[in-house]
Symmetry: C2
Subunit: 392 residues, 2 copies
């Protein structure tokens, strides 16, 4: 059917090696940077804290003044606004420890009578004092270029008073649904031989979820000239994903059009479902031709689209959400193909979904995840513990 | 220090039991529903496909007409627009199988000569024919109320021609940062005893990430009247989170104010860091008083805020992203406390971060996740395999 059927890992490697990550960046307010990737090393220009801070509510003291203090033998100090011999200053957690003081006595260890404080403990220097730079030291690199920023990272950046940082721009992905059987959502009821377009819609939502900026093109019918025009009109995007028309039938023009505009790197991949997937490069930009069968399309999108987006966007590899589960039934697979079996999770068991057709989208919706079966084995037996890759 | 220090699990259970999920919903276009929770059961009103569709490119035939066809003995059929005795119709994957035909012969098994097709195989009825309703059967429930919607679910909904669905509304969360030492981000450099507000900012970003609608209030100083006013002004929110002022110091007015406006359910929790956390209910709405120390605040937000948001928003429990790793060093914990130790992941090892202070925000930013140590053990030994809960 296909002249070549490339191993899935090899196809991915070859594809990823054929384009470069984006270098463009933008300056954004820190509060908008959750989920973005830093395009710069960020170094602290100040210490945090930039003053000695009290780590407890209590009294700032000269530690030597508390010598001999104990639960039955309080030391007596005067309260005031500054530290002198035998005096102390009320402090709160986070407030500055005044000059001359070198420790803080917890309020629980004291009793106050007007301007007099009884201290029922003895503290050593630096007790309950947060030193300058104890959180972040001036000159320290706090964020490395390429780090995926989480709210806690943004908190650290904001604690330095930095308001704006440079992040890599999000990859723009043009999505072109093709197929003469497709009608747009919201149109009148589909006639015989017509179906609503859903692959482009799903791709749009996944690209957005994974950190890209999707642009969903109108449906293009199975006409090589029109497919070519649509691709050419979207070459300002960073990646192009074309849904449908990737097989070897009379109406499958997409791989040929990609080859005519650039280079077809792969056509036919050892993933099941997803075999008709084609991968190309036009003007240095990655192009993914997703099979029109929705399950095959989603598998291709996971295997190639997510990784390509990650590379383009300089996103570090995240830990996948996987769950270990015991197979409730045997699952068979196609030797020579990396097989994506859909399973439902139920009380620690992975229940294979009976339907295996690549056209049965509802089987993905019923599934919690995929069990990915390597090429060289024929499936997994009932009772085996398998890793389930959750569907985003 | 606190009169009570409630066990972390018990505090969570008590807190969650003291308020109800939101019942409000909104109608949204399906393409806006990624990550939302369906507020209705959705039943298919049509079959998908609603016609018999070809599962392959090829020729629709009456199966009985192919009797005797084989690789060396082709059956000869005429091509046409409809099926009669001895004729066939060209079909593409997804197109309708015409009346009278009951099977599709793959194009690979044929040779065409003008209006004549040689069929080199014999097919049985239904071969390569997708039956009506093979993906979704009319009347089938495709989405249950309470399901968290993913792009693939939205694809299924859209394949039925449904344009709008009812989803639960997102919980609105008012966030009130308190503390006289705080200055807003972007202000001039902080003076001695002043720090930039970051807890409210981080809380805002986490609430948004977890599916809520955050509203960040201006900083309120440590004044019970002003704290009370700020809470009262935000009682139209579904949850209130107050950052800081939860301890038992002179400036810690927040729990008292919450008690005066409603009910303080918990004050003092066996989590470390995070002990001063207080939890209350005002007008039936959950109120979380987060400690001002940033690490303690984040731990309280994870343990109580995320779960409360999930309950309010009717969100199903998701699988946590956890990673198994081998401890590179011993980590100690406080018996009686559920301890959240920060670790960095490095080549399958969990490396504890040296700093353990609740005020050291940079230790969270340096961490990939938390190792959560139960109350009844004293820590984990070097070399033990631990579960690392990744920080969102």
């Amino acid at each position: 059917m296909f002249k070549t059927r490339m191993n899935a890992d090899m196809a991915l490697e070859l594809f990823l090696a054929s384009f470069e990550p984006l270098t463009g960046s933008e300056n954004l307010n820190v509060e908008k940077c959750d989920g973005r990737v830093s395009a710069e090393d960020i170094t602290a220009k100040t210490d945090v804290p930039h003053y000695r801070r009290a780590a407890m509510d209590g009294f700032a003291v000269k530690a030597s003044d508390t010598l001999g203090g104990g639960s039955t033998s309080p030391v007596i100090l005067k309260t005031g606004d500054s530290i002198g011999k035998g005096s102390c200053v009320r402090v709160h957690t986070g407030s500055a420890v005044p000059e001359g003081a070198d420790a803080v006595v917890m309020v629980e260890d004291t009793q106050t009578h007007g301007g007099i404080v009884e201290v029922f403990t003895q503290v050593h220097p630096l007790k309950n004092v947060g030193e300058i730079g104890e959180d972040i030291r001036k000159g320290e690199m706090i964020i490395k270029r390429g780090k995926l920023l989480r709210p806690c990272d943004i908190g650290v950046i904001a604690s330095l008073g930095i308001r704006e940082i440079k992040v890599f721009r999000k990859p723009v992905v043009a999505i072109i649904p093709t197929g003469e059987e497709l009608i747009p959502k919201g149109d009148a009821l589909p006639g015989i031989g017509e179906v609503y377009e859903t692959n482009g819609l799903m791709t749009e939502l996944y690209i957005r979820k994974w950190g890209g900026v999707p642009g969903l093109h109108d449906i293009v019918t199975d006409n090589p000239g029109m497919i070519k025009s649509a691709i050419k009109a979207n070459l300002d995007a960073d990646m192009i994903i074309i849904c449908g028309g990737t097989s070897v039938g009379k109406r499958d023009f997409v791989p040929g059009v990609v080859a005519s505009l650039g280079k077809l790197v792969v056509h036919g991949v050892g993933i099941s479902p997803g075999k008709p997937t084609a991968l190309g490069i036009i003007n240095g930009k990655p192009v993914i031709c997703m099979p029109g069968y929705p399950v095959a399309g989603i598998v291709a999108l996971y295997w190639f689209g997510k990784e390509a987006l990650r590379k383009l966007g300089n996103m570090p590899r995240e830990y996948e959400t996987t769950v270990l589960a015991v197979l409730s039934e045997k699952i068979a697979s196609r030797t020579g193909f990396k097989t994506f079996a859909r399973v439902r999770l139920e009380n620690g068991h992975a229940v294979p979904l009976a339907t295996s057709g690549a056209g049965i989208l509802s089987s993905v919706s019923k599934a919690d995840g995929f069990v990915v079966i390597p090429e060289n084995i024929e499936g997994y037996e009932k009772g085996e513990t398998v890793e389930v890759k959750l569907i985003d």
